[in-house]
Subunit: 475 residues, 3 copies
């Protein structure tokens, strides 16, 4: 028997103890086949609109996935050799990059990236061998052959993956043409919704702030020379997103601070920012005010606000200059929510239509801040682990940290946050297995009744995020 043989184990990520595992299997079994609701991610909607076949294994699995490229980079592989920051690779280059992954595959042992890819290899492509230098070419050919088939085109996979809702992430000025076209396409039944991501428009220290404000004004058909017009333009664009299916706005700044300036002060600082001569501290104050404005608008238009703060973006300047953003050089920093969010939560925290989901990669705030906030404010939800902590042990730490204060009901439900389309089912499956793991342990320790856990998992994977993100019932 070849040691190359490998398929993911059906009990992977479930508890080892037989008594607990039996409960976990039961709970997982109730979730496994539920549809996928993905309320936050980074898949390009054109992928589904154009339905163009994926070209090759490397451009599918390696180049666009900074979880994968960063570890190869840390192990000495050049990002250039992986196709990062350049046009399409030739067949020889793509095959070479694939071989590099195979060569370093063992270093991925225990990482979610490997677990996701192994899931995809098997579940999507029917592979029953482990990736290695010996099998690299065979697997490359196997996947490439499949990719050429019609049933591996994006829309077919979307259907096969049982994705009901897929949210994209979009610029406030985006015309949402792909979303509109998809919605109008009788041949596509899925729900692909835009997400309003205004980060850069809320950063008054940016050198291009004036141009961004202009662009926003143009998109909204409103003069944004002053603060009032800027605000109105934001409101208009948010409504445009909402009209085209958008349910949420997404925000990521250096910290989670919010503040309310007097309107005149906001207008004064806005003018300085537009003129490119705002002082750094004032730029921070204005940014916090503008974020508080978004919360106020959210209380009006009902778009769910999600916060992902505190990342040192593009930590290595030369890499950014050469390869651009999102190549693995964004590093988390410490965060605090309690004081920073007080202005917004005092303003709209009890408003019926306001909703705020807090994400973190600083795990210290789960039990200390996020669960206590979500355990008091009806508007606040504890976001699922994200990015560096979207991983088995971290997900279990999250559940253990927040559940004792807020159970499951005040949590957001799973967020895949991915630009790797094929990994979506693998990620959701992992999340379901780990929730089953966590709940089964609570049941086995007689901390939760099996009936309660079983009832919970009926709605946990799909219906619950639909409710949190105001996506309505299942279609």
């Amino acid at each position: 028997m070849s040691t190359d043989a490998f398929v993911p184990h059906p009990d992977r990520l479930l508890p080892v103890d037989p008594a607990v595992r039996d409960i976990a299997r039961e709970l997982y079994g109730r979730m496994a086949e539920q549809p996928i609701v993905s309320p936050h991610g980074h898949v390009d909607p054109r992928l589904l609109l154009d339905d163009t076949p994926f070209t090759d294994p490397t451009s599918l699995f390696i180049t666009p996935d900074h979880y994968v490229t960063r570890l190869l980079h840390a192990r000495g592989v050049s990002l250039a050799d992986l196709g990062v920051g350049r046009g399409p690779l030739s067949e020889a280059e793509a095959r070479h990059a694939w071989g590099l992954l195979a060569e370093h595959w063992r270093a991925y042992a225990g990482t979610p990236s490997r677990l996701w890819m192994e899931h995809e290899f098997h579940e999507v492509f029917g592979i029953e061998k482990v990736l290695s230098p010996a099998t690299a070419d065979e697997l490359y050919d196997h996947i490439a052959e499949r990719l050429a088939r019609p049933e591996f085109r994006p829309r077919a996979l979307f259907e096969q993956f049982r994705i009901e809702v897929l949210a994209t992430t979009d610029d406030p000025c985006d015309d949402l043409a792909p979303h509109r076209a998809l919605a109008a396409d009788p041949g596509f039944a899925g729900q692909v919704v835009p997400t309003f991501r205004p980060d850069r428009y809320l950063e008054p220290a940016r050198p291009d702030f004036a141009q961004l404000a202009d662009a926003l004004g143009e998109a909204a058909g409103i003069d944004t020379a002053g603060y009032a017009g800027f605000t109105e333009a934001m409101r208009v664009r948010r409504l445009f997103f909402r009209e085209h299916g958008g349910v949420s706005t997404d925000h990521s700044h250096a910290d989670a601070g919010t503040a309310r300036l007097a309107e005149e002060e906001a207008a004064r600082l806005f003018a300085q920012a537009r003129a490119g001569r705002i002082a750094p501290a004032d730029a921070v104050a204005l940014r916090r005010h503008l974020l508080a404005d978004q919360a106020r608008m959210a209380a009006d238009d009902g778009l769910v606000m999600t916060l992902h703060p505190a990342v040192h973006r593009n930590h290595h300047a030369e890499t950014f200059a050469r390869y651009g953003a999102d190549v693995g050089a964004d590093i988390p920093t410490s965060v605090t929510f309690v004081d920073g969010l007080a202005p917004v939560l005092n303003d709209v925290g009890l408003e019926k239509d306001f909703r705020l989901v807090l994400f973190t990669i600083d795990e210290t705030v789960f039990s200390r801040e996020i669960a206590p906030l979500a355990g008091f404010y009806p508007s606040v939800y504890a976001g699922a682990p994200w990015w560096f902590i979207d991983a088995p042990d971290a997900i279990l730490r999250y559940r253990r940290a927040v559940s004792e204060t807020i159970g499951y009901s005040r949590t957001s439900g799973f967020i895949d946050d991915t630009r790797a389309f094929c990994s979506i089912p693998a990620r959701h499956d992992m999340s379901r297995r780990l929730d089953a793991n966590h709940l089964a342990t609570l049941v086995a320790e007689h901390r939760v009744r099996l009936e309660d856990a079983a009832a919970l998992v009926e709605t946990l994977p799909a219906q619950h995020p639909r409710e949190v993100f105001k996506l309505g019932g299942t279609r």
Copy 2:
């Protein structure tokens, strides 16, 4: 068989693995029947003095317990409907509130509140059904009927709960009349001791600082116009508490900072504070100095000092205005002890009679700061998990974080910190189960000998906190 049937499992919170569970049962068995020593909490001593029957299930279980009300609030229930911040509920209102809890009961799955209440339902009230909309009225009637019986009056329960010592939390100006009356009452054998909580008298930025200083002076019979008199009045009131059974003082400020100002400087800032015109930074400096004074007094009078810092109190101003404090809107913030406590620990940290117990809801300091401090200073003890982390997984995290540096001997013993009288045995029982769980795992992994664990648990629940809080031997 009705699915309504439910009693807490005798092995709840113990490890699942049969080999480990057997050890845990053995260790828990040695602790289960030991008396309760509760050196820190918030029960009103008048409850025991007057021995008035509890009126109804809602005012017993829901209204006063912000652990319970906050999650209902987060799920959209109005605090007013739960009786928070208002006078007694009518029978119909109380029953309605009880129904709301029943309706949301599933959302409490996995929270300690539910585990505690289920313990109380069964152990105190003999209930063998699960709370649900279907059983809500039946359970309400069941509990209400019991509450009318003499054996459910507070003193009878105190006896039945095997409480030996119960500490209350009291204002420095309190005349401790209930404590004195209880001590003098031949019909009451329990020990109910006051705790000196001077927080607001140590906050020079408060607008009512002068009135508070006046009140303190009046209570002590000392002129507190100046810093020296204020200090002397504090000393006198501490001794008053000690004379009436007090063993500790409790402190909770925005941070754990301490500092020693020159006496003249302290006097100068005190005068400014009294005049209502102290600068914010000076108010912080004086607060830290006054806290350091408390430590110095503690080294003299031997009262154990407990520190619970770093909570953003009354995070939502409107809720505070409408419902008052302690309704679930206090949110923890990050804390650090090492630099802030250096002045006090250099001053009195090696003094024979000084003792300082450090509590936190910022779990990051357990392994980083608290255990190292308690592992060097004979005066410092690592306080038990508290508030948001007084919960199964968090308690296990605590033991795992501190035990490897300081074992069990430098920890405070369990603190229930509750105003929910009936939950006291449930909370202590949970703590004992979890210590059994932690120790059994160490034994099963051959990290601790069974003999050592067995010897430890003989003194852990009752004798150990008696020693830490200088409560003397068992009566």
Copy 3:
């Protein structure tokens, strides 16, 4: 059968579940007999040069080990009674101190110190009893008798322990005479390498900064009156260490900040520091620049840079005055790496010969900062748990926190960091057991293939740290 009987269990620290334990035994078995590579520690090289017998159990196990003395101190024992900060103890004093340890031995249950000592008692000295007041004299005599035998002299133990490499920690001005003598000694086959530890030379705020700069200049034969000469002298001394086997430099400051000043500015501040009149903020800026200089030198000379920041040293001034440093009064503080290291990592983070190992006792940075940095920069490695967290549960927390981002390959390998020579094998053995524990759990949960785990452990204990610390292949 006497309850005194005790030997460490062969399965200690392995998982309890039989299925997982079998896998862990298999993995541990592959590591247990591998040689020891110790790239960072504090053993005095003269111990091996002189090969003087250890005198007595107390001076071997208690006096020099602040892990042991600190807990006794916290429990009320005077450091003086343990021989700390004084000359050799008399036989009676040493026996008395040993009796104190025996008396408090139960309080060490669950601490790594006890596990290490029990390992040493049994594996090195053949003891099969537990330490207690009843057995204290017997064990003392037993160990003392063994210590007089030739096979218990340091060199014999070095051989018996299978230590291949032992790094010491040394002052930049050290002449490394013991290292040179050992290397030249045909009767000693081990590799004892120095480590360059320039901390105090990089602290411009020190009152003795000028003298230190002078001493450095003298050692290097270079005029260090100015910044340029000082820098050159550093470079020269680093090369001297490298020539005599040194592979790394070690750094521990109050924080992990680095910065690059303009050269003229650095020269100007250096002159002020030398003159003893540098402002505190400037001293911090210069220290960060000097640390960044070390990184730049490391990129040139290839010495591996290790960072152990954020400890409040000598927290209790009086204890420091009486007993000196390293007696258990160093307390960790919170740390952050991301912004502070950006200057250095932008400067040399992608340089081929630069290597930076990040250690922490603030566990919050494992998943948040260290793994993400080590998962992008080829130069950065996640250092093993150290000091207060060099303990079973903490080591498992570390593996669980970093492995999901960087697997095992971007971690440093185990560091014993000890001055307790006899504890070296016990510490490495514990580390191997815990890695087996962690990996076996991943295998049992079908997250890592047994083949991959088995391949990993072949190189994990010895070859991997050799590679990270550039120590070459096995001899």
